[in-house]
Symmetry: C3
Subunit: 190 residues, 3 copies
Amino acid sequence: MLDQTQIANRAGLTEDEVRQIVRHELERSQKRDPAARKLAIIASKGTLDWAYPPLNLACAAAASGMEASIFFTFYGLNIIRKDFEKKLKITPVGNPGMPMPMPMPDIISGLPGMTSLATLMMRSRLRKHNVSTIRELLDLSRELGVKLIACDFTFEVFGYREEDFIEGVEFGGAAAFLSQARRAHVTLFI
Amino acid sequence: MLDQTQIANRAGLTEDEVRQIVRHELERSQKRDPAARKLAIIASKGTLDWAYPPLNLACAAAASGMEASIFFTFYGLNIIRKDFEKKLKITPVGNPGMPMPMPMPDIISGLPGMTSLATLMMRSRLRKHNVSTIRELLDLSRELGVKLIACDFTFEVFGYREEDFIEGVEFGGAAAFLSQARRAHVTLFI
Amino acid sequence: MLDQTQIANRAGLTEDEVRQIVRHELERSQKRDPAARKLAIIASKGTLDWAYPPLNLACAAAASGMEASIFFTFYGLNIIRKDFEKKLKITPVGNPGMPMPMPMPDIISGLPGMTSLATLMMRSRLRKHNVSTIRELLDLSRELGVKLIACDFTFEVFGYREEDFIEGVEFGGAAAFLSQARRAHVTLFI
């Protein structure tokens, strides 16, 4: 049998006190919200310009302590092919928003050699501004533990093989992406 | 008046015990996080290749028990038009990332007939790899209860009418998308 | 020393009662989920058609009481340049999904003047349907308190200067976007 003091010590919490504890714990838990620490990106474009946003964002997230994963699918598989430097080109065709030294109708920018020219120009502009190369960003991603997943379904349709991809790449389907994304606040299709 | 034993039985919880209960309940609640079970996609592109990701992802999500909705807007409205098979084409123009049997400057791939040719080639490649057709994915979406919403604002601007769309489509605006998306972890603009 | 009644009054909560309080508070907190009230968009495209979705969605969200921010990067920087009306064009090239008065191979739609023609046609169609102009949407965004952030990294690479941008624009990098997005359910890359 407990004596009075023991009861008074143990007993103490009123409903109001309990609610206060709950609200305090909820606030703490929202600050630690695990979804706020996860980012899941789909990289679907296979050009030099659109290779940057998924790698940049994933590296920035991982560098700030977030868990980042990129799911490469469709043309985005180019980014993690061993020969990505040959594959990643840029074209002003169909993109009147691209800042070019001079305005150019698509009939001109569609001429043979224009894609190579635009790619060279973009590369030199990036170099001039000390922008990391895609190779540097891929290396950084793997150093920072960014998960790189190649869509196993698309790469078969596109006729690629596992050995076409850089080291450190995992293989998975839509379910692999969803299992990351459904626990992440930041989910982007690029 | 309660006797000692009754009080001891009822009273029992200390602040520590309450905090433990709270943390346990919080963990359980995070595992059941309703946002982890919702996916909301905007489908804005109207080509054969870009019709796949929204339907594939929504079906994969719905098949794994998630609640999925797709909001079709802009060129994405093509995907749910009754004549989608005629509308959904593919072009290598402006997409140097597309794997083609041989490299082709945009001036060539822009020639009359090249869009039809690329569309035929893509269709035959998809068939060879037993990829579901868009028709099959649309049927599957509706079977799995994926919500298909046509942007009522865009379809008027584009000169479409309600009867142009396949059965089972709902109509709504940005608010309809947001009401789904603001409760979903996975939100994608495709 | 407390008397019996005081103990009975204070003591009262059993574990079941505490769990009930916790679940009730959790439910309330999920309804107020702060992530459900935040939207963070990346606007990366610099054409007239793709300028609409980020501004439309952010305004719709802000109008319904959500906190909205748009991070403009790459070609999307065009949208918030002072000369956006000259910059934002539209091209049917590379987009066979665009509804045109008559089908057109890319070799034709790539001819000089076709981008201007398509832009004029789109503008007139939008006007006919009383669609807000980009200028009106930018004004509305700022009235509604939508945060407009220009990617400070890209705008240097593209050779833009701070004074090229409309008033009310802030400058920041990927970290600025992530700090918004990691607390938001709705995150979109447009």
